[in-house]
């Protein structure tokens, strides 16, 4: 089994998690594989190419491209009834089973910072958010905590997607078909972001900050707002003496009805066709996505949510649970490159990330928009 190892999901965690399963199934030995610095998404294609694929893969939602390599799980109840199973299906077939939902379009905030800046209510529109950032900056806070590597574009997507998807639920499909342009849809978000950079709300030196450092900086109260997925709640719950942290859903621009909420499947598991022991693999996945303790443990450690699988939550967790309760199913949207049948061309995540870094580096919004348009043109070529 190839799994993602992160600051939350350590190798020890994985080994502990599968231990009851190994005890119950004497014949099955679960080997946890750590893909190292490159991550599962980069390692799996290489391992497939090398003919050395694992039996079970965690954290990689199926794509149209990958589907032929994966075992069709549609016949298993535990797979079809798992969270977001339908959103992630490809041509009506279920290729994965996940443990819960992971929210993406969130802004975590430091309550102390908001008090000091005199902000009494959390922003409900992008315009209010921009005002809030200004107040935070005036109060001497670093308004937005972001960083280098993959996390740079998280903030831009949290800023853009709630509006873009609310206005055009078929955005992913239309972009992939070349019917919409990036500049035509993402334009206002990119311009707002460039403005934030120009105003110093997004610090220029953010690119030198790695993910673990960014997380640490926000937890210890060095910055005011941190755009991150719901798994941050898991980190917060484990932190010793964290700052007083709250969360609000990423707002849309003024006048948008029902802002979309980026959500991913939490910890999806897939079985590879190349596996020589698909039955054992299926048993393992069934255990991982249905066993009360196993699911609750996984949800808790990464701050994810699922009905009927309760665990002891912090206040922050409760706030998130409320957001989940308030979000209608149709408001959920993929982020990044997308999933299921709502996907963008390969390499989109890297490209939007690189272009967000360019924005932080001071590249004008217009240049970034035209670069993204060029990228789409050449990728759809």
């Amino acid at each position: 089994m190839l799994v993602n190892v992160t600051p939350n999901l350590t190798e020890e965690f994985w080994n502990e998690l599968v231990k009851p399963f190994e005890d119950a199934n004497a014949g099955i030995d679960v080997v946890v594989q750590n893909p190292g610095a490159e991550g599962v998404a980069a390692a799996l294609p290489r391992l497939l190419t090398a003919g050395d694929a694992p039996d079970v893969v965690q954290s990689l939602p199926p794509t149209v491209e990958m589907a032929p390599e994966l075992v069709d799980l549609s016949g298993y109840d535990w797979a079809t009834s798992a969270p977001l199973a339908e959103q992630y299906s490809i041509e009506g077939k279920t290729y994965m089973a996940g443990i819960g939902v992971q929210l993406q379009s969130l802004w975590f905030y430091n309550k102390t910072a908001f008090e000091e800046a005199g902000i009494t209510a959390v922003p409900t529109t992008v315009e209010e958010l921009t005002d809030a950032l200004g107040k935070l900056a005036d109060a001497g806070w670093t308004p937005v905590q972001t960083g280098g590597d993959w996390m740079t574009s998280h903030s831009l997507q949290a800023l853009g997607l709630p509006t873009i998807i609310a206005e055009d639920p078929d955005w992913f499909a239309r972009m992939s078909a070349g019917e919409d342009t990036f500049s035509g849809t993402y334009g206002p978000a990119v311009e707002t972001y460039a403005e934030w950079v120009a105003e110093g709300y997004v610090p220029k030196d953010a690119l030198g900050i790695k993910y673990p450092d960014a997380e640490q900086a926000f937890l210890s109260g060095k910055s005011a707002i941190y755009p991150m997925g719901s798994w941050f709640a898991g980190t917060e719950a484990k932190a010793t003496d964290p700052a007083d942290i709250g969360v609000f859903r990423a707002p849309a621009f003024e006048g948008t009805d029902g802002p979309a909420m980026g959500a991913n499947i939490a910890s999806p598991y897939s079985i590879l066709k190349s596996s020589e022991d698909q039955d054992a693999a299926a048993k393992l996945v069934e255990f991982l996505v249905t066993d009360q303790t196993a699911v609750a443990d996984q949800l808790e450690v990464d701050g994810n949510f699922r009905d009927g699988y309760e665990y002891e939550m912090t206040d922050l967790g409760t706030e998130l649970q409320q957001i989940v309760a308030d979000t209608p199913a149709e408001a959920y949207t993929p982020t990044g490159q997308g999933y299921g049948e709502r996907t963008l061309p390969t390499g989109y995540s890297d490209e939007i990330n690189a272009q967000t870094q360019a924005l932080i580096g001071g590249t004008p919004a217009a240049d970034v928009l035209s670069a993204m348009d060029d990228w789409f043109a050449s990728s759809l070529g």
Partner: protein
């Protein structure tokens, strides 16, 4: 293929004898040829074939798409940027490595312990893996790294060595120069030491200054070493990857991605193996053409010296 070893000239030999004489040559040459074919020639042909397909690296099916991947390589802004940056690295890197290497070689060409010590100090990074060099300099140049730490003590604000496009590009080039000019220097030193002392004596009698001696005696006589240095550095820099991976990981904003970085990313990270293969073929052709071009261009210069 291999025929005979040191055979005495013989007319018409019976076939069995011919084979008996050829056998040792085949036994001796065969294994190396097989290994070379399997690990160089077959993969090269495979790379070319793959470059004409849209294979993702694991599917059972793929289609031939002609030269589309090559067209994509020239059209994709990321790839073009990477090619330009690689060219910049190769150009400035070659000039700086050889310029610094030559200057320092001239300064420490004498014998004596101090010179040997300097030689060791200038050269040692060469034996360290580029990946580790990259990590070391990334720790030196990071926003909270050692260099900015020292600058802070003297009251200079942090310099975005790795986080601003222009600085990051320069940092990559200078890190490469830091770690490898020593190799060029060593070759120049060897070239200088092979110049017979009599030449300098004659020049001194003619009243030539040290600088004149360097220009009219040393430089022409080390022309062949110069060629070797230029070609080695150029060919080496065209495939630079490890140091970039560790130092900037291609960032910020993808500005320091090189061709090899793109090849590996496209091939494995994004399952566009055909596209990666097309870039590989292009790099191969460019490397061979540039390497040979510099060699021939320099051969002219070397000949002039010989006359």
């Amino acid at each position: 293929m291999a025929s005979t070893l040191a055979v005495a000239p013989a007319r018409r030999r019976p076939a069995a004898r011919v084979w008996r004489e050829r056998l040792p040559g085949i036994v001796m040459g065969g294994p190396a040829v097989l290994v070379f074919l399997a690990m160089f020639i077959v993969p090269m042909i495979l790379a070319f074939v793959l470059s004409l397909t849209d294979w993702n690296g694991f599917s059972l099916s793929f289609t031939f798409i002609g030269l589309d991947n090559y067209a994509e390589a020239f059209r994709n802004p990321r790839t073009v940027d990477a090619a330009v940056f690689t060219a910049v690295v190769a150009f400035f890197g070659t000039i700086l490595c050889n310029g610094v290497g030559l200057a320092l070689a001239a300064l420490i060409s004498g014998s004596g312990r101090a010179n040997t010590l300097m030689r060791t100090i200038f050269f040692y990074p060469y034996i360290i893996s580029s990946l580790i060099i990259g990590f070391l300099w990334s720790a030196m140049l990071a926003p909270e790294g050692a260099v900015n730490g020292v600058l802070a003590h003297v009251g200079i604000p942090a310099v975005p060595f790795l986080t601003e496009v222009g600085f990051a590009k320069a940092s990559v080039i200078l890190t490469i120069v830091w770690s490898s000019f020593g190799f060029n220097m060593i070759l120049f030193l060897a070239g200088m030491k092979s110049v017979p002392l009599e030449y300098y004596e004659a020049a001194t009698i003619d009243g030539a200054s040290r600088w004149q001696q360097f220009r009219s005696v040393t430089m022409p006589l080390i022309a062949p070493v110069f060629t070797v240095n230029l070609v080695l550095t150029l060919v080496g820099l065209l495939k630079v990857y490890d140091v970039v991976l560790a130092l900037t990981d291609g960032g910020p904003a993808g500005s320091t991605q090189t061709i090899v970085y793109q090849i590996l990313k496209n091939s494995f990270g994004q399952s566009e193996l055909g596209f990666g293969a097309a870039q590989s073929v292009i790099l191969l052709v460019v490397t061979a053409v540039l390497g040979l071009a510099v060699t021939f261009a320099r051969r002219g210069a070397e000949k002039k010296v010989a006359e």
